[in-house]
């Protein structure tokens, strides 16, 4: 059936796109997304896909063209990172507001300023309220799997929302790993033929898309969109189950790693979950009751399921790879803390920010977090201040500009 190959995250994304064979792909280069589009460009050049490949002059136009194509009844994709996503921001809202099932690999990279091309989640997190669904991947395999599933989720007639497949720049996008690829026929059958609901090109039945909604209609349109996010909850699970039948790999809103009887847990998304699992294994073999939750679905956010999974713990640490400036904690922390607010037994929640601009996170860092969790359980209370994991205290006074 499938085959196991060594691939980078970007190549795996391109491979998924080759199998999907979208009608239209719009592209604009940005590190670390570039190699994905290089690979896809080869597929176009070699006739391995039948895609109309539109090499636009900006990400703003990439998203605009994707919106145009999707409205016209095409299966349409693009991909980006960081500044590119920021430039798309305006049109991200339009894509979701027009209920277009666009699928977009989003290779996480820090936002300027200061300029930095390495991984953190500031880009996708700052778009968390654009109405897009967001899936995060721990490794190359999940990048591939998530992209295939995303097409089905997005195009589900009761969802019709765009999906961002987020994966860590360089750490996943440029790292070779073994990936199991479905054979073309299985993948294509799973993804299926696109049956567009909206068909602008049907000149017999003209439709006006993107109309002006005054206060007597706008609110309802937005609530419909919010409801579609709720529907997506169910659909995400249905599609995952169908996918499992094909390849045996199972997917959920999040992965609970050694959470049985855990009293301390870490919550993280993306590649850092791999490092954290290593630490959990070590601590478990030393008899410590620790576990890990790796979030896969950030939008819609699985509040109830997470509260259930964490309800028995005594303290959890949320590891954010971005800052929600001026807030009490990072974006993931805010969600998790809200999710746990209604628990009868109070769960202590700590917030850590780590890995900004590609700063590595090590097993020792994660070990120190489990250590902190033990301390707060003993004390019975937490400080709400965010802890910056791996930041160099001595550099916090460094000047912002280069003074010559």
């Amino acid at each position: 059936m499938g085959k196991r190959v060594a691939m980078t995250g970007n190549d795996a994304a391109a491979e998924a796109m080759r199998q999907i064979d979208p009608d239209v792909v719009a592209a604009y280069p940005i590190t670390p997304q570039t190699e994905l589009m290089h690979k896809f460009a080869e597929y176009v050049a070699d006739g391995k896909v039948s895609t109309e490949f539109v090499l636009v002059e900006s990400e703003h136009s990439a998203m605009s063209a994707t919106v145009g194509a999707s409205t016209a009844g095409a299966r349409a994709m693009t991909a980006t990172s960081s500044q590119g996503l920021a430039l798309m921001f305006e049109i991200l809202h339009i894509a979701s507001g027009l209920r277009l099932p666009i699928v977009m690999p989003m290779v996480n990279r820090a936002l300027s300023a200061p300029l930095n091309i390495h991984c953190d989640h500031s880009d996708s997190m700052s778009c968390r309220d654009t109405g897009w669904l967001q899936l995060y991947a721990e490794n190359t395999q999940e990048v591939y799997d998530n992209i295939l599933m995303a097409v089905r989720i997005a195009e589900h007639p009761e969802v019709l929302l765009p999906v961002m497949i987020c994966y860590d720049g360089f750490i996943i996008s440029h790292t070779m790993e073994a990936v199991e690829i479905l054979d073309d026929e299985t993948a294509k059958r799973f993804v299926g033929e696109y049956q567009p609901k909206l068909q602008l090109l049907d000149v017999e039945r003209p439709v006006t898309v993107g109309a002006l909604y005054l206060p007597d209609h706008y609110f309802e349109a937005k609530v419909q969109q919010a409801r579609a996010h709720q529907t997506a909850f169910t659909v995400i699970q249905e599609i995952a189950q169908e996918f499992t039948k094909l390849c045996g790999r199972s997917y959920d809103y999040f992965e609970s790693y050694r959470m049985e009887d855990a009293e301390r847990a870490i919550i993280v998304l993306g590649s850092a979950a791999g490092t954290a699992k290593e630490v959990v294994d070590r601590l478990r073999s030393a008899g410590e009751r620790v576990g890990l939750i790796k979030l896969r679905v950030f939008r819609p956010f699985p509040h109830h399921e997470l509260a259930k999974a964490l309800g028995r713990t005594r303290a959890v640490a949320v590891l954010d790879r971005s800052i929600a400036f001026g807030s009490i904690g990072g974006p993931v922390y805010l969600e998790v803390r809200s999710a746990l607010l209604d628990q009868r037994e109070r769960v202590l929640v700590l917030n850590y920010v780590y890995g900004l601009g590609g700063r590595d996170i090590f097993c020792e860092d994660i070990g120190s977090v489990y250590e902190d969790l033990r301390r707060v359980i003993e004390m019975g209370s937490t400080e709400t201040e965010t802890i910056y994991l791996g930041v160099r205290q001595e550099k916090l006074e460094q000047p912002v500009h280069i003074e010559v």
Binding site: V56, G68, A69, L201, V203
Partner: protein, 308 residues
């Protein structure tokens, strides 16, 4: 090209009942353009007066498929529609020949949407882009754009104690588009409607990127009585502040040469937005504008192979 009677008999692609001002000529520019395209059309439109007055949910004035995405991206959006059209046609899912048209105001074309337009034209998408130029951001309350005539009053270039209306000369967008080496680019005004119709027909017949810039007076922003719009549009060509010409791959040709070039003040005095310029102490501004018009007209004549 059809005669007036045939036009009147056509089914309207943009119907009445929209909320444009009485005497709004940009709306006429849109309507008449669509009347001169034989094939079925699919239209993209930028945010602006024309979109806002014609698509108030749950009503629409559009009898043809329409997509409005945002302000600065009509060309990019239609690029995507065209890519979809090509893909679906290739796969046998669409059989009909369809003409793709994009409309943008001067703000959405000269300014914020210039990059999107330039990109789409360079990539060679098969679309006709029409800029309905009413010389300002009318939808947001008559602010200056780079298309606004020098000296004009707008909400952001008022006639104050030290500054007299818009300080800069109009950007020459038509020439920028000609520089894209388009198979067809033209400048028209809605007053010379036959000339405009011919240009639309010519542009729409080309499989490739084409562009028309049509001067379309706005009664509210230019401050003139609703019934004067057509004569104001015509006078722009008579004074040569807005010459009517076309270019095929850069070869320019005048499509209308006034028998006698009228002074630009004839055009200015028809519009309330220039009223302040007629106070005696401000006469030099009109003279300056005249010099600039003369200079540009002279250059255009040479480019068209005419004797200045």
């Amino acid at each position: 090209m059809s005669g007036l009677r045939e036009y009147m008999a056509q089914e309207e692609r943009i119907t009445g009942g929209h909320r444009a001002c009485t005497g709004c000529l940009p709306m006429v520019s849109l309507k008449q353009a669509l009347m001169n395209i034989k094939d079925p059309v699919v239209v993209g439109i930028a945010t602006g007066c024309m979109e806002v007055v014609s698509t108030i949910y749950p009503y629409t004035a559009w009898n043809v498929p329409l997509i409005h995405n945002a302000f600065e991206n009509a060309a990019a959006t239609v690029s995507g529609v065209e890519a979809a059209y090509n893909a679906l046609r290739r796969k046998g899912k669409i059989a009909k020949k369809i003409k793709l048209v994009a409309f943008g105001g001067d703000g959405g074309t000269y300014d914020i949407g210039l990059q999107s337009l330039s990109g789409a034209m360079e990539r060679g998408h098969n679309m006709l882009y029409i800029c309905y130029n009413n010389e300002g951001y009318m939808n947001t309350g008559i602010q200056r754009s780079s298309a606004t005539t020098m000296g004009a009053w707008t909400s952001t270039s008022p006639d104050g104690a030290v500054k007299l209306g818009k300080q800069q000369l109009q950007k020459n967008l038509t020439e920028i588009m000609i520089a894209h080496d388009l198979p067809y680019a033209a400048q028209a005004d809605i007053g010379h409607w036959k000339d405009y119709m011919k240009k639309v027909e010519k542009a729409a017949a080309i499989d490739g990127p084409t562009f028309i810039n049509v001067l379309s007076p706005c009664t509210l922003g230019w401050k003139f009585p609703a019934e004067d719009g057509m004569s104001i549009a015509q006078m722009a060509a008579e004074t040569c502040i807005w010459p009517l010409y076309e270019a095929e791959h850069g070869y320019r040709k005048l499509t209308y040469k006034p028998r006698e070039k009228k002074p630009v003040r004839e055009w200015l005095k028809m519009q309330g937005r220039f009223r302040h310029l007629f106070r005696t102490e401000h006469e030099p501004m009109i003279e300056e504008l005249q010099r600039q018009v003369d200079r540009r007209w002279d250059l255009l004549l040479r480019l068209c192979g005419e004797t200045p």
